[in-house]
Symmetry: D2
Subunit: 99 residues, 4 copies
């Protein structure tokens, strides 16, 4: 079961600037081998379900290891059985209708 998701990790208890933690997360994603795309408010992932959520778990572990005592993460995830779809397909299907 493939999943397309966007997630955003919010480290708490470490001040207002959190880009170093997000960057560490991107490195975790890179190492995990899942397909990912950083966007302004989160990161899109396209992967098998287990790989995608293992990568997000690894982000939490990494961010805690960097010193953040608490993390709040939002994920929105989609699965479908009617057809294969990539991150690019989703953008393209909307763009095609904007003509």
């Amino acid at each position: 079961m493939k999943v397309l998701l966007s997630f955003s990790v919010v480290p708490m208890g470490v001040g207002v600037s959190v880009s170093e933690y997000v960057a560490a997360c991107e490195k975790v994603l890179e190492a995990s081998g899942v397909k990912y795309q950083l966007h302004a408010n989160g990161t899109n992932v396209e992967a098998e379900w287990d790989a995608a959520f293992a990568a997000i778990k690894a982000c939490h572990e990494r961010v805690h290891a960097m010193g953040a005592p608490r993390i709040s993460t939002v994920i929105y995830a989609g699965t479908r059985t009617d057809k294969e779809q990539t991150l690019e397909d989703k953008v393209e299907s909307v763009r095609a209708k904007l003509g």
Copy 2:
């Protein structure tokens, strides 16, 4: 690593009434053994990370098996290393400050 999360599963392509799918999800959670609490806009879960996300995956699989071709799910999840916390603790710590 324990996680406290709220999630909401939205089956697509099956009409407007989705409570039977949410109910099936609750049964999946019950069978999974994780601690869970239904609320008006989702379900709270308290469990080890892997168990919590395995249960949500099992919900997706069940809802697809019931005939929903597409599912969109939102999850917000918190982990912390500074202390143990239960679902009840979170509500209680707010209530205590409401005097």
Copy 3:
């Protein structure tokens, strides 16, 4: 247009314990007159769209005024035109199917 939503406010840059900010938010909701229910990972609101989002905005303003320099909030919101539905209805329609 009525909306049923769950939201969770995460103050950043103020340490790990945020229950006093959540409690302040509950007071803002109380003062706003919208119907709301605290749950373990957020707060459910049932109100007209404008009133609901004005209340969430007022929460942000209050939490900033308390000293939080940054806030990250997740909201999931549902509207429907086919029937009236309350927060209690949503729980009840699932429970009815759990027999």
Copy 4:
């Protein structure tokens, strides 16, 4: 109070293919004058709070008018008082740390 947010509108009761609804939403955003960026799992918005949420409300109204009886939307929104920040700044601050 400026807000940076990502949101994703899920029309229910209209079948599995929803890109025409998302495209209609993009047109609503364009007409609203807010700054927005489509991404694979949603749309990023940068605007004053009231303008941003008025645009999302207008999306709901448009999607209902197109025939969707029910809509489920996830929004994650950030505000900050310590500095001005754009959608581009957020991506850039992470990229800078990826070296």
